[in-house]
Amino acid sequence: MEYLVLLFTTIFVNNLVLSRFLGLCPFMGVSKKLETAIGMGLATAFVLTLSSILSFLANEFILQPFELEYLKTVTFILLIAVVVQATEMVVHKTSPLLYSVLGIYLPLITTNCAVLGVALLNVQEGNDFIQSALYGFGGAVGFTLVMVLFATIRERLELADVPISFQGAPIALITAGFMSVAFMGFAGMA
């Protein structure tokens, strides 16, 4: 139950994108089409979950015993880079179209703050192993969820009579703003 609540909270209440401001670049960049959004969402979700587990382990068994906490950023980011690179190559090999679509974004998962952010937040909040894993997983689900919804809305916006200056990124940001207003409805839960 406690874990369910944690999951719910990380997905909705403290949504990575909309209330924690993490992972915004891919959120804005890869959400023009639904299919790409789903692809990116899933890729990120995978990396996010895996790396939050790995970084927990690294922190627990390498950094803390040796009192090297100040190296956590470097260590985590390296871990993430490895996970991403491996994912990238597997995708490249198995689904060239997905690869071409995700294009520059796959390596950019490395620099998706959500991934590093979750790892750091896990340390900051002193989460244990299961909590860290859930936190990573929930964050990933939340990220994918809003990304997919955002993409469907953006597809619809494509034909809307948006004032010229607001076409493209601005109206997408406004939409993200309203989405985060909507998600504030979950505020105060759990």
Binding site: L149, T152, A160, G185, F186, G188, M189
Partner: protein, 348 residues
């Protein structure tokens, strides 16, 4: 060769956006009148402010965007938006709240998206939510029903309060307001009190919140008329009420000392307004029957979740906005089977 490009049909459509919107306005009237009757002139002040400024902003935006002013200004949609926004505001609020609300609804939520028909978010609700998170204090001070106020404000006094923030001498603001029923329940349950003792409070009426139950009933009536006039389809209001009743009923049955009964949920807060006038906003609701059913059921569920566990006493606005995010998906995946598609399926 007067019109070589013309394409049939050559019979003009008998309905028009203006007609649709004006029907909605008419359907709102009984509720509005009763609301004013029970809760005071402040509501009228709000409605006038939102409507005036909504039209003003609409006009400005049309000018800026170089769109035909006459047709769009008189399509009536801005008026519906303004009325719904006005109706969701607390009775006594400073003037800039309705004005800012009208700005957010018309300029940001509607015209930045392309105006009538293109907006992704329900303008009235988007504006309401923005106001609520910006001014939680002002937005959560609700008037008590007139009958339980020692003294009441006249029309002029309400206007005066709205613009200057000053009340007639000798009147305390606290005397005019009270926690709403939903708020009260939240607070008291939070203190560990049992529901049946809470229900003794005078914020409760016969079936719902005192006063609000009548307003809700009036909106229900107006809404039914809209269904009859085929302006809205039954799916949304019925499913919304059904899902709200179902989940609140379930919780009530499980633990009647913690949860209030479903009838109260249906007849308090903005339930009826939401079910018949807000969730039904054609632009932001799905267009397929199945989509509408899922949408409305989702809204009912979320209203309950937010009312009970969320930070805000009423959840209609957030529920509508949240489920609204899924509308494009719903629209895509709930397309009805076309004529003959089933036959084909059977054949194969």
């Amino acid at each position: 060769m007067s019109n070589p490009a013309g394409s049939s049909p050559f019979i003009p459509s008998s309905s028009s956006v203006t007609k649709v919107m004006m029907t909605v306005v008419l359907a709102l009237l009984p509720g509005i009148v009763l609301y004013i009757w029970l809760f005071g002139w402040g509501i009228l002040t709000n409605l006038i402010l939102t409507t005036t400024f909504a039209l003003l902003f609409e006009w400005l935006m049309l000018l800026i965007r170089d769109r035909p002013v006459k047709e769009f200004l008189f399509d009536g949609s801005a008026i519906v938006t303004a009325l719904l926004l006005g109706l969701t505001l607390p009775t006594l609020v400073p003037w800039w709240i309705p004005v800012l609300g009208a700005f957010f609804a018309i300029v940001v939520a509607k015209h930045l998206y392309g105006g009538l028909g293109y907006n992704t978010f329900n303008p009235a609700m988007a504006a309401y939510a923005v106001l609520l998170i910006s001014f939680p204090l002002e937005m959560s001070l609700w008037s008590a029903p007139l009958v339980s106020q020692p003294e009441t404000l006249g029309l002029l006094e309400s206007v005066q309060y709205s613009f200057t923030g000053s009340l007639p001498t000798g009147l305390e603001f606290d005397a005019l307001t009270s926690a709403t029923m939903l708020d009260h329940v939240r607070t008291e349950v939070g203190l560990g009190k049992a529901v049946d003792t809470i229900e003794q409070a005078d914020v409760f009426g016969y079936v719902g919140a005192a006063g609000f139950e009548w307003v809700n009933a009036a909106f229900l009536l107006g809404g039914l008329w809209l269904v009859y006039k085929k302006i809205i389809s039954w799916h949304i209001p019925v499913m919304l009420m059904a899902s709200l009743a179902l989940i609140s009923g379930a919780c009530f049955l499980i633990d009647g000392s913690q949860f209030i009964n479903p009838l109260i949920h249906l007849f308090s807060g903005a339930t009826m307004l939401g079910a018949f006038f807000i969730a039904t906003d054609p632009v932001t609701a799905p267009t397929t029957s199945l989509g509408r059913i899922i949408y409305a059921a989702g809204i009912g569920l979320l209203i309950y979740i937010i009312r009970i566990w969320g930070g805000y006493p009423d959840g209609v606005a957030f529920a509508v906005l949240l489920i609204g995010l899924t509308v494009p998906l719903l629209d895509y995946y709930t397309a009805p089977k076309v004529y003959g598609a089933r036959a084909k399926y059977e054949k194969s």
